[in-house]
């Protein structure tokens, strides 16, 4: 139904660098996703977080080890219940706090075990966090929880750093599980139009649902290569658990040995439980980046960019693959050390997806502006959110089938 086209090329938008935001955390600096220094902090953008448990909210939750003063969600929920009923309920002690911190931590001085001060990608975004707190196969409760967040006005992106196991007689990663279908349905329906960011699969035996979504972004994790840049895809990612070998990775983002916040000013580390490693922390780098892209789109009047399809296309199109090509500044490496395919237009790699998240390139491509495909002259860099009647038939049919099978229409 919708046509998105992004054309990669070198593009410089001078206004992007008008303000430098101090950020010492490697993952948002030049070694990481390159979001620091863009003058963007997610201000005015509503984002969400769903997990088994939720981060504490300072000055609201009051149990011991509930909160981190640098991580302040705007709203906290229990399933589909508002925060007024959820004080201290389903508060996690570290994982949810760390995930939230990647998005909104305001820390500027406290140094973590990797030697940097963890600061969120979008520290001024309005984060709403909810806990589903149900058995790992209860996908319906997770979907209801997520739906409540998606219904918050202007919700743009929801982070899902959890995985559920198969249930309902479904045991393949083909997008037919309830929660995966919910993600696909909620993303594209006109009420929500939310982009879902899902933590990719790891070697641990956490469940793989909904990494087999179609309309969200599934994120694998990277660690530092020998030059100190996050560009080495971790061996701990699991790329496919389906006999059909359906690709499950859309993007790669920093997730290995990070400085991430725990409660009470603590840090996760290599021997803590959970450790400072995981796709759980890669995903919110993408979520935070979407927040700053939305902020930028709003400021520039790029109304169509807020649609989940446009945002997804821009993020994937701007990912780094090979240094020196089309403005990319790093070679992304497979777990075995090999580079991206010789052909830059190789569509998706099983292990690297579209490549390593690069917020700076994403803002550049977004900022190039929207140009309708039937214009007489189309610049080298730009995008289009529009209607076609060719390949779109496949999309429309697929979404319809998914929604009907779950009774969502």
């Amino acid at each position: 139904m919708w046509r998105i086209s992004c054309i990669s090329a070198v593009c410089f938008v001078s206004s992007l660098c008008s303000e430098f935001v101090t950020a010492s955390q490697d993952t948002i600096g030049p070694n990481g996703i390159n979001s620091a220094g863009l003058g963007l902090d997610g201000s005015g953008v509503v984002i969400g977080q769903v997990e088994a448990f939720r981060p504490g909210k300072p000055m609201f939750d009051d149990i011991v080890n509930c909160c981190n003063a640098d991580v302040k969600p705007t709203g906290v929920f229990f399933r589909d219940q508002p925060m007024s009923a959820s004080k201290n309920q389903a508060v996690d002690d570290d994982h949810a706090e760390a995930v939230a911190g990647v998005m909104i931590s305001t820390n500027t001085g406290s140094i973590g075990p990797e030697g940097t001060a963890p600061r969120g990608v979008a520290i001024a975004a309005s984060l709403n966090s909810s806990a589903y707190d149900a058995v790992p196969t209860d996908q319906a409760t997770a979907a209801i929880t997520t739906q409540a967040l998606a219904n918050i006005p202007n919700m743009r992106v929801i982070n899902m750093s959890f995985g559920m196991d198969f249930s309902g007689g479904i045991s393949t990663l083909d997008g037919s599980s309830l929660l995966s279908q919910f993600v696909d349905w909620s993303a594209q329906n006109s009420v929500n139009d939310v982009l879902y960011v899902v933590a990719g699969n790891e070697a641990s035996h956490a469940g793989p649902i909904p990494t087999d979504n179609y309309n969200g972004l599934t994120v694998a994790m990277s660690g530092k290569a020998s030059d100190g840049k996050f560009r080495q895809v971790s061996t701990d990612n699991v790329y496919s658990q389906d006999p059909s070998n359906r690709p499950l990775t859309d993007l790669v983002a920093p997730g290995f040995l990070l400085d991430v916040a725990g409660v009470n000013g603590t840090f996760l580390n290599a021997v803590s439980d959970p450790p400072n490693i995981g796709t759980s922390y890669a995903a919110p780098h993408v979520t935070g980046t979407i927040a700053i892209l939305d902020q930028y789109a709003g400021a520039q009047g790029l109304a169509d960019a807020v649609h989940h399809q446009a945002m997804k296309a821009i993020l994937m199109n701007s990912a780094d693959k090979l240094a020196g090509v089309l403005g990319m500044d790093r070679d992304v490496l497979n777990p075995d050390g090999t580079k991206w395919h010789a052909a830059i237009d190789y569509p998706l790699d099983a292990k690297m997806g579209a490549g390593e998240l690069d917020a700076k390139r994403a803002v550049q491509q977004l900022g190039a502006g929207e140009f309708h495909f039937n214009q007489a002259s189309v610049p080298a860099v730009g995008w289009d959110y529009n209607v076609t009647d060719g390949e779109s038939q496949v999309w429309r049919t697929h979404w319809g089938l998914l929604a009907r099978s779950e009774g969502m229409f």
Partner: protein
């Protein structure tokens, strides 16, 4: 995460609690290993008296419990209480961070930043974590590969931690032969990605030692590594087999809303595969009369 912490010892816990009052069991005391009559996987009954054994010896460096004179082979199965095991993140065990305080990064907050990082980077536990972590450890088992065996080191407490570090971080070849006059400690580990798990019980019946563990299913994504030092004390000469045995997830999981996992054969199968891949395997070692230290 605290939500993973589940009391699992059941009858053993109760018995051990009684022994704490009577003999220091489970509290880091110096009493000998506790005998059991039945060492089956699901029921471990603990007698209310200590094993027949020789006088106690205290590790001068760690102050922790160490082995006794070699127990008689006919003494029946010996339970090594969880309370004598040093481990990361395992309910009922002693927190191994106490042996290596620098391994607690968050405990170093009073230090200047550079010193804090330096102490953390040099900590024995952090270095051991490198040996168990994907990407930084060449030994981390990739898909289709399996973990290597556990091993035994000489000593107890901090001495055994240093020895384990030498094997895992410095790649020193583990010893397979020890003198009967030497206290030994079994090293149990699970590569990051396998856990979280917990040791349920450790028993020794003559020369057969069983380390029984089970996985605790995580709700969130997140790899965890596990590591434990199991003091075996001084042993009689002979060849010892250490069996690393995976137990099924138990009733406690059902009670903690993990029931669907337990009923799911596929999940069980995955846990079994995960155990083979990430958790150290069974191994053997020799104890000789000669002083080969």
């Amino acid at each position: 995460m605290s939500t993973r912490i589940i009391s699992v010892r059941g009858r053993l816990s109760l018995a051990c609690m009684l022994l704490i009052a009577a003999s220091g069991c489970g509290g880091g005391g110096t009493k000998p290993a506790t005998p059991v009559r039945n060492s089956s996987e699901t029921k471990v009954e603990v007698e209310s008296k200590p094993a027949e054994s020789g006088p106690l010896v205290t590790d001068q460096e760690s102050g922790g419990p160490i082995g006794d004179q070699p127990p008689k082979d006919d003494a029946g199965a010996i339970e090594i209480p969880l309370g004598q095991i040093w481990a990361l993140h395992m309910p009922g065990t002693k927190n191994i961070i106490e042996l290596d305080p620098d391994g607690d990064y968050n405990g170093l907050t009073s230090l200047p930043g550079d010193e804090r990082i330096k102490r953390w980077k040099n900590s024995l536990l952090r270095q051991i974590s490198e040996a168990l972590t994907p990407d930084v450890s060449p030994d981390w088992p990739r898909e289709g590969q399996q973990s290597g065996p556990g091993f035994v080191v000489a000593g107890n407490g901090i001495v055994s931690l240093r020895e384990a570090n030498a094997v895992m971080f410095d790649k020193k070849k583990p010893r397979t032969s020890f003198s009967a006059s030497t206290e030994v400690t079994a090293v149990f580990f699970s590569y990051m990605g396998g856990g979280p798990l917990q040791i349920m019980h450790v028993t020794r019946d003559g020369s057969n030692i069983v380390v029984a563990y089970r996985f605790i299913m995580p709700l969130n994504k997140g790899p965890v590594l596990d590591f434990a030092l199991i003091p075996l004390g001084r042993l009689m000469p002979g060849k010892y087999q250490v069996e690393i045995r995976q137990l099924p997830m138990g009733q406690e999981m059902l009670d903690r809303t993990y029931g669907a996992y337990n009923a799911d054969e596929r999940q069980r199968s995955r846990a079994k595969v995960s155990g083979l891949r990430f958790v150290c395997h069974s191994f053997s070692f020799d104890v000789t009369k000669e002083n080969n230290d």
